[in-house]
C-alpha cells in the first residue's frame, strides 16, 4: 500500500514537471520577429583583436600605442564600472559599406568587488581601429 502511494506521488510529481515544461514552452515565446534586415557576420578584424588582447592582458603600454587619447577615454567609459578586467570575449562583427563593427563582452570586478559584465564595440576602417563605443 505504501509502495503504491509512493509510486503514485512520484508519478504525479513527474506529471507536474512535464506540465510545467509545457506551460513554459507556451509562455516563453522568445524574441519578437525582427522586421528589419540583419547583416551577415564577418570574421574578427586583426586590429580590433590586438586592442582587446591588450585589454585582456592588462597591457597599458601596448594599448597606448594602438589607440589615441579620445579612443582611450571612450574605452574607459565603455568599460565602466569594471576596473579589473578578468575575461574578454569576441561576440561577433558585422560590416556595412566598408564600416566594420567588432563587438566584445568583458567581465570583471567593480571597485566594490562585484562581478559585472559590459559590452563594447570597436569601429574598424581600413584595417585600423577608428572608434570605441
Amino acid at each position: 500500500m505504501n509502495e503504491t502511494k509512493a509510486v503514485a506521488t512520484l508519478a504525479l510529481f513527474a506529471v507536474g514537471i512535464l506540465g510545467g515544461v509545457v506551460a513554459h514552452t507556451f509562455l516563453d515565446r522568445g524574441p519578437a520577429e525582427n522586421p528589419y534586415p540583419a547583416l551577415p557576420k564577418v570574421d574578427e578584424p586583426r586590429a580590433a583583436h590586438d586592442v582587446v588582447a591588450a585589454v585582456g592582458s592588462d597591457d597599458a603600454q601596448a594599448l597606448s600605442r594602438m589607440l589615441d587619447s579620445t579612443m582611450l577615454t571612450d574605452l574607459d567609459t565603455a568599460l565602466q564600472p569594471i576596473v579589473d578586467v578578468r575575461t574578454t570575449k569576441f561576440v561577433g562583427a558585422v560590416e556595412s559599406e566598408g564600416r566594420l563593427l567588432s563587438a566584445y563582452v568583458v567581465t570583471g570586478k567593480t571597485t566594490e568587488g562585484i562581478d559585472f559584465v559590459v559590452g563594447f564595440v570597436l569601429r574598424v576602417s581600413n584595417d585600423q581601429v577608428v572608434g570605441v563605443n
Binding site: 525582427n34 563587438a103 563582452v105
Partner: protein
C-alpha cells in the same frame, strides 16, 4: 470523506510543486541554451529585442515596462520627440543586427548594430550595447 479530501489535497499539492519545478527547470535550461548558443540559439534576449524595436519604431509606450522608471516630464518629452520624428519621417531604419551577448549572474549584455538613413539621406551605421537585469534594460550605450 476526510481521507478522500486529504488525498485530493495532497495530490494537488504534489502536482503544483511538480508544475513549479518543471517551469523553473525549463526556464533555467532555456537560459543556458540561449547563452551557450546550443541548438542554433542566438542568445538574444526577448527584452533586448523588444527594446530595440521600440526604439527603431519610435514607440516609447511599447518599451515603458522594460526600461528604468522615468519621471513624467521625461516621458512626456520622449513622446513629443517620437511624435515629431514620426510625422517628419526623419529617420528610416535600414537594418537591425544582433551581434552577440553574454551573461554574468543576473546581468546580461546584448550588442546590436543599427543601420539608419537620416532625413538628409545620410546612412549611419552604429552599435548599441544593452545591459539587461531585473527584466529591464538598465543601460543603453
Amino acid at each position: 470523506m476526510v481521507g478522500l479530501r486529504r488525498l485530493i489535497a495532497g495530490s494537488a499539492g504534489t502536482l503544483l510543486v511538480g508544475l513549479f519545478a518543471g517551469f523553473v527547470l525549463a526556464s533555467a535550461v532555456g537560459v543556458f541554451i540561449q547563452d551557450s548558443g546550443l541548438f542554433g540559439a542566438s542568445g538574444e534576449s526577448p527584452i533586448a529585442r523588444a527594446y530595440m524595436l521600440g526604439l527603431l519604431q519610435r514607440d516609447p509606450n511599447s518599451i515603458v515596462g522594460i526600461r528604468p522608471n522615468q519621471s513624467i516630464a521625461q516621458r512626456a518629452a520622449e513622446l513629443q520627440n517620437a511624435d515629431s520624428s514620426r510625422t517628419t519621417a526623419s529617420i528610416q531604419p535600414l537594418s537591425l543586427t544582433y551581434i552577440g551577448g553574454a551573461s554574468v549572474g543576473i546581468y546580461s549584455v546584448h550588442i546590436y548594430a543599427v543601420g539608419l538613413r537620416t532625413a538628409q539621406g545620410v546612412d549611419q551605421f552604429f552599435p548599441l550595447a544593452l545591459t539587461v537585469y531585473g527584466g529591464k534594460v538598465q543601460r543603453s550605450e
